[in-house]
Structures are given as C-alpha cells and as structure tokens.
C-alpha cells in the first residue's frame, strides 16, 4: 500500500514579455541601480491582456502533463495556488482543468499568497495518501501585474507573472520525490503586511484608487520573511533528522535576492546552495518555487537524488517549509511538451 505522494513531473510557463528596470524607471521614480541592489531583479515577466492566470496555468499544466506517466491520464484533481484568480468567483482551477481537457475532476484554488504552492503540496499529499485522489495536477500561477498599482515604486519592480505545474501520484515514503511533512504556519495579526483592500466582503468597492491593488510594507515584510522562513526550515530539518549540511539546494520563495541571501546565512547554508532565480522574471508569488524547481530541472541543476529544502513566506502572514529528495524526472528535451488532450 502506498504511503506517500511523489512528484511525477514538473513544467512551467513564463510569458515572453519583460519589463526592464530602465523601462520601469521611465514611468516611476526609481533606477536600475536602486532596484538591482535591493532586489537582484533586472526584469520582470509580464503577461499580456489576453493572458489571465488561467492561460498561464493551463500552459504550465500542459507541459507537466506531457512529461507525466501515461501523459497524466489518471489526473483526477486540479489545484491552482494563486492570489490572482481570473475572477473573484468561480475559482480558476475548474477553468484550467477544462482547458486541459480534464473532465469530471475535483478542482479548487488555494489562496495563501506566496505560501500557496507549499499549502498545495500539503493538500495534494493528503488527498493522495487518503485515497481521495489518484493523481493531482498542482499549479502555482500568478498574474501579479493585475494587482500592482502602476505608480507604486515599492511593488512595481518586484512582482512578475508566470506559472508552474507539478503532477503528484501515489508512491512510497522512501522513494525520491516523496512529499513528507510540510510545516505550515500563519499569523493573521500581520495581515496588513501585504494586502489588497477592496474587492472582498469587508470592502467590496474601492474608496481610493489604490484599494484594488497590492499594498506592501516592504521593511516589515523583509524582517518577518527572514525570521519565519528560517525558523520553519529549522523545524522541518529537525523533524527529518537533517542539518543544514545535508541540504544540496535551498529553494526559497523568490521574493528578492537579499531575502534569499539572508535566509541562507541564518540557516548556515552556503550561498552557492541557495537558488536565486528571479533576475529575469521577478517574484512570481505562488509560482516562484515550482518555476525555480522546473527551471533548475531543465538546466540540469537538479538531476535526481538532491536534498532540496523548500520554504516560503507570504501575505497572511503565512509561511511554510518542507524538505524532500528530488526524483529523477523525465528529461524535458526527450519528451513532447504537448499535453495529452490538446
């Protein structure tokens, strides 16, 4: 009998368009140097007007399904982790499932901001080990440009658009790619760190032009992010009887390069083992961890067997971590990127 959910395939989709620091500096009071030194970001990915979150998610999902065992034919559950759904209602996941040709699937979204993918991993693992799902397509997808106030110099340089998807299926705890304990936490007293005021039941309509867009307290978020991700990582390492020395790759939510450096320093993980993958795309929120994993797999940074520590911090405030042994996945350049249905 299986006792774990295991990673079967991964894929991602990033929109082609980029907004560079210099382009940004033409419309808001900032500079390439200011942005680079504080965030490590040189350009951020920008989805087009005809590319809502579901389109990005579907493209990433199609890539992952194309690499999955049997083309992902047994996927019966689609979960989309996103802060930027196509619409307030319904969820984005049913639209994605339909566009992928997956019929009669269980579908729902997870809204846990940048921690969404880790919350999704915990959920997917639970569904699989309880026997409620045969195989899960878990997608982290965001069109953050849709909630960025164009003149906000605190958030405009940071966020990008993109999606990545993972297929998970039943397996065994000792197998590479098995999802173990996912430590999740939150502190709702910190809701104001990063929030969108209007559009919800508390304030349906905007009272101020900034209300439908993201507001973020960058200083406080930075401090809490470093502290919570560090603490959460230490908990999961301890749970698995591992130490920082056992970590081959730290894949933290790609919030900004300085946070990644600081978390690695606090954990005593050498800087070269802390993956930095935001220079050309920015912070893609719930998509950032799976995009980083997918690109690391494609680049051959992950080949199978590596101990990978995942951690995130996001609005809520919410945070989470897990550690896993990366599986040997089908090489993307040996398979078709076309999905089974379209």
């Amino acid at each position: 009998m299986t006792d774990a959910a295991v990673i079967d395939a991964i894929g991602h989709h990033l929109p082609e368009a980029r907004e560079t620091n210099d382009e940004l500096a033409r419309r808001i009071d900032t500079s390439d140097e200011w942005i680079r030194t504080r965030t490590g970001i040189r350009a951020r990915s920008r989805a087009g007007d005809d590319e809502p979150t579901s389109v990005l998610a579907t493209r990433a999902g199609r890539e992952a399904l194309g690499r999955a065992t049997n083309g992902g034919a047994d996927v019966d559950t689609v979960i989309v982790a996103t802060t930027t759904p196509d619409m307030k209602c319904p969820a984005t996941a049913p639209v994605v499932a339909s566009d992928l040709g997956l019929e009669n699937t269980a579908t729902f979204d997870i809204n846990s901001a940048c921690t969404g993918f880790l919350a999704g991993l915990a959920t997917a693992a639970g569904l699989i080990t309880s026997g409620n799902s045969r195989a899960v397509l878990l997608v982290g997808a965001e069109k953050y440009s849709s909630i960025i106030y164009p003149q906000d110099r605190g958030t405009s340089p940071i966020f990008g658009d993109g999606a990545a998807a993972m297929v998970l299926r039943p397996g065994y705890r000792q197998q590479a790619g098995a999802i173990g304990r996912v430590h999740l936490g939150s502190d709702g007293r910190l809701w104001a760190l990063a929030h969108v005021l209007s559009g919800g039941s508390a304030q349906p309509l905007a009272a101020d032009p900034h209300d439908p867009f993201l507001r973020m307290d960058g200083r406080a978020t930075y401090r809490h992010a470093v502290a919570r991700m560090t603490d959460s990582c230490q908990r999961v390492l301890k749970d698995e009887s591992l130490t920082a020395e056992d970590v081959d790759l730290l894949v933290a939510h790609q919030a900004n390069a300085r946070i990644l450096t600081e978390v690695a320093r606090e954990l005593e993980v050498p800087a070269e083992k802390a993956l930095v993958d935001l220079t050309d795309i920015g912070n893609t929120a719930a998509a950032s961890i799976p995009v980083a994993l997918s690109r690391a797999q494609e680049a051959g940074v992950l080949r199978g067997g590596e101990t990978v520590l995942l951690t995130a911090f996001g609005a809520g405030a919410s945070w989470g971590s897990t550690v896993l042994r990366w599986p040997e996945l089908t090489s993307p350049n040996l398979t078709t990127t076309e999905g089974p249905n379209r």
Binding site: L193, D217, R219, A220, Y222, R223, R258
Partner: protein, 89 residues
C-alpha cells in the same frame, strides 16, 4: 540600569560593516548620523542591523517602531526605551 550609548552602537555598527556590506572607513558616526542618508544603508540592511541589535540586547522592536528609526541617536533611544521601559524601575 545600563544606558546604551551612541558610541556603543557606532562601535557595534563598525564591527558589522562587512556583514552589512557598508563602507564606513573614514566615516564619522555621531548621534545625528542618518543611517540611510549619511551611512548609506538601504532599507533592507537597516532591517538586518535592527534585527542584530534585537538579538544583542534581547529586545523586540515592533513593526511600527521600525519605521521611526532615522539616526543613530534614534536607535539608542529606541533600545534604551525597550530595555528600560518607564515604570520598570
């Protein structure tokens, strides 16, 4: 009651120059020195500095107070207020 002086904070900060990626050689640090405009910290290494001060002095700086810090004297006043709250004597 031990009071944390501006000189003590300045010395601690000099010791952290490399850690915080600051060039403080030949830079005079006084109570009036603005951490951002005079000592060329940015908002993030200012946060790192304040977190290291929290650990050193065993205090917790609230998110609201983080925003009020500008000069080295502000830091000393903040830390002294947290270490020796009014009415604790």
């Amino acid at each position: 009651m031990n009071t944390i002086s501006v000189a003590e904070i300045a010395e601690y900060l000099r010791g952290l120059a490399e850690r915080l990626d600051l060039d403080l050689d030949g830079v005079e640090i006084t109570g009036e020195s603005s951490l951002e405009s005079d000592l060329e910290m940015d908002s993030l290494n200012l946060m790192d500095f304040l977190v290291l001060l929290e650990r050193k002095y065993g205090v917790k700086i609230s998110d609201e107070r983080l925003r009020e810090v500008d000069t080295v004297a502000d830091v000393a006043e903040l830390l002294n207020g947290l270490k020796n709250p009014v009415g604790s004597r």
